[in-house]
């Protein structure tokens, strides 16, 4: 039926007489960026990439005479080891810096793999519908009911510890979440007229999925990716904490927290410093993800 919409179009776009209210280029947007989150994220990436250049010591170099030194600002500390040393005399700061690499690599690998798989399953399932959809969604449901850590532990035990194992374990855990959300988005996009028109133009299903569906669900997908980084880092840290993650001596924040647990009363910095690092990074990514979702959302409604 005819629906005449009274649109005060606070729209995009610079076409002069197109919208009732055409939006001029706005400078106000720059002020709204989440500067704190971006700062921490950039810092993380720089630290991870430049680790060999900025770490004061080797992360695995032991120095027993220097063991259990407190951070520089405390009594007994020195500027040689700004954040103190651990039970084997290894520099905490350097281990934190190298640990950033581990966190980042695992997060990236797992997200890309898990996200990629999830995206494809979501698109195929949502677009094709019918039995394919029912089947895939049941697999998704089953996956989502797995107890996370338990599965990761099982995988670690059967495949052995290592970066690869963790990446695979996390992928297996994550893909289902992406699949479900992406499928929801696809169902909404599928009903829009341009998809039907693409079929009228003669497009194959593959072309429609690639050119019409994927670009229109990317927004949601990207937000989901950012919001899951924190989750993935924590999973890796938990696995390492439980001893099923990255094997020593490669420093991992989770492993460091585990090691520091027994010394928490006397050498608090061993657990607190890596713990704080995890918390900061996860928080930064979550805030960034929130901002991204808000920034993308009202625009989505305009189109």
């Amino acid at each position: 039926m005819a629906r005449v919409e009274e649109r005060i179009d606070v729209g995009f776009g610079s076409s002069p007489s197109a919208d009732v209210l055409a939006r001029p280029r706005s400078r106000g947007d720059l002020a709204r960026l989440p500067w704190a989150s971006l700062f921490i994220i950039t810092l993380l990436i720089l630290v991870a990439v430049l680790a060999p250049l900025i770490a004061p010591h080797s992360p695995t170099e032991q120095s027993l005479p220097d063991k259990l030194r407190p951070p520089a600002w405390q009594e007994g500390g020195s500027t040689k080891h700004l954040l103190g040393t651990d039970v084997l005399g290894r520099d905490v700061l350097s281990r934190i810096i190298y640990g950033a690499r581990v966190s980042l690599i695992v997060a990236a690998a797992a997200l890309l793999a898990g996200g990629g798989v999830g995206l494809m399953v979501g698109i195929v399932s949502g677009y094709l519908g019918g039995r394919v959809d029912s089947f895939l969604m049941r697999v998704v449901d089953a996956t989502l009911t797995f107890p996370t850590i338990l599965i990761a532990l099982l995988l670690a035990v059967s495949m052995g510890q290592g970066l690869q194992t963790i990446a695979i374990a996390i992928t297996v855990l994550i893909w289902a979440r992406f699949a479900r959300v992406v499928r929801g988005d696809v169902l909404a996009v599928k009903t829009r007229d341009f998809v039907a028109l693409a079929r009228v133009h003669g497009c194959s299903h593959l072309r429609i999925m690639a050119i019409h569906i994927v670009p229109n669900v990317l927004n949601t997908f990207m937000v989901l990716l950012t919001l899951h980084i924190g989750f993935v880092i924590i999973v890796e840290a938990s696995l390492s904490f439980l001893g099923a993650g990255i094997p020593p001596p490669t420093p991992s924040w989770g492993q460091m927290v585990a090691d520091g647990r027994s010394h928490i009363a006397s050498a608090w910095w061993l657990a607190v410093v890596p713990g704080a690092a995890i918390m900061l990074v996860v928080l930064a990514f979550n805030l960034f993800g929130d901002w991204l979702r808000d920034w993308l959302d009202p625009r989505l409604r305009q189109v």
Binding site: A2, A196, L197, V200, H201
Partner: protein, 332 residues
């Protein structure tokens, strides 16, 4: 009086006994079919070259499903759609590609008809990209040509849909339908989501294009005035069937079927002094899942109009009408 262009021996489109039933299912785990939605229930019509057929009716009457059947967006349960004598639902390969270049569509909602992620030129050129081997330069040339035909500036090609108003978007949608040089464009409520003053612009554009090119239209609409302005012939649909079918002028001057009359009466003329001979249909528009078996009732509010159906009508009592209504052809 609108006169359709030269009609060739075989009409461009011939629809024979077209039927589409949708199963109604119940149950979460095991779906059982409990009924049928008889969306389209055995209709037949033709569309000639350079001719517009208007398809009018209210929601649930089956006109949108009919248009989708013509566009191969649905498969018929029974019956055929013939384009130049060929069954469109049996086409494959190169014939199918050809079909896609010959039959195009414009839909109602300008806000959802364009992919927001694609530039205007990519949307317009899509049918060419998919169906024909046209060089990039050739495509660009064609895009510019159709933009000109629909009255949009060439600069529009490199922009995104959100930069345009509703009326402009419908022009883009029309350009995208024209790109492959089609012979039939299915127009499903092309102007009802647009502002009143823009509707006239688009309707004039449609008429001009038809006159200049060998274009036929299937115009699906609920607004009777729009149909009268553009269509050479009009068919009225109700519950999946065509209840009256005639050339537009005859239909509008002298509607025969009671449903058509009720529909016309319900369409309020923009004239405060128009006689109010209301034929108010009581009750809801029946659902095509469960069409009333036997009779539909129409109650004449005031002086009933005398109809060639003879004694079926009485002054002020409910009129029982067999649902298998004689078409206006049978009435004459």
């Amino acid at each position: 009086m609108l006169e359709s262009g030269a009609i060739a021996a075989e009409p461009l489109i011939r629809v024979e006994n077209l039927t589409k039933h949708f199963p109604v299912t119940r149950g979460l785990l095991i779906a059982r079919t409990t009924g049928q939605v008889k969306a389209v229930d055995g209709i037949s019509f033709t569309i000639g070259r350079q001719e517009t057929l208007g398809l009018v009716g209210e929601s649930g009457c089956g006109k949108t499903t009919t248009s989708r059947l013509l566009l191969r967006l649905e498969r018929p349960t029974a019956g055929r759609v013939l384009l130049d004598g060929q069954d469109v639902h049996a086409l494959t390969g190169a014939d199918l590609s050809k079909y896609h270049t010959r039959v195009q569509a414009v839909f109602q909602d300008p806000w959802s008809s364009l992919n927001p992620r694609l530039r205007v030129r990519d949307t317009i050129a899509e049918a060419l990209v998919v169906n024909r081997r046209v060089s990039k330069a050739g495509r660009l040339e064609r895009v510019e040509e159709v933009l000109h035909q629909v009255g949009l500036p060439l600069a529009a090609a490199s922009r995104y849909p959100h930069e345009f108003s509703g009326g402009q978007r419908q022009r883009i949608a029309l350009a995208s339908a024209l790109a492959s040089d089609p012979e039939l464009i299915v127009l499903d409520e092309p102007v009802s989501a647009l502002d009143v003053s823009i509707r006239a612009q688009i309707m004039n554009l449609l008429k001009d294009l038809q006159a200049r090119q060998q274009l036929s239209y299937l115009l699906v609409a609920h607004n009777l005035a729009t149909v009268r302005y553009i269509a050479h012939r009009t068919a009225v649909m109700y519950l999946g069937r065509i209840v009256e079918h005639a050339d537009t002028e005859s239909l509008y001057r002298n509607p025969l079927h009671p449903y058509t009359k009720a529909l016309f009466a319900a369409a309020l003329p923009a004239d405060p002094d128009a006689p109010r001979d209301d034929m108010i249909l009581s009750g809801e528009v029946p659902s095509p899942i469960d069409p009333p078996s036997g009779t539909a009732s129409i109650r004449a509010a005031r002086s009933p109009q005398r109809v060639a159906l003879g004694n079926l009508f009485a002054a002020s009592s409910p009129i029982a009408l067999p649902i298998a209504v004689p078409t206006s052809d049978e009435l004459r």
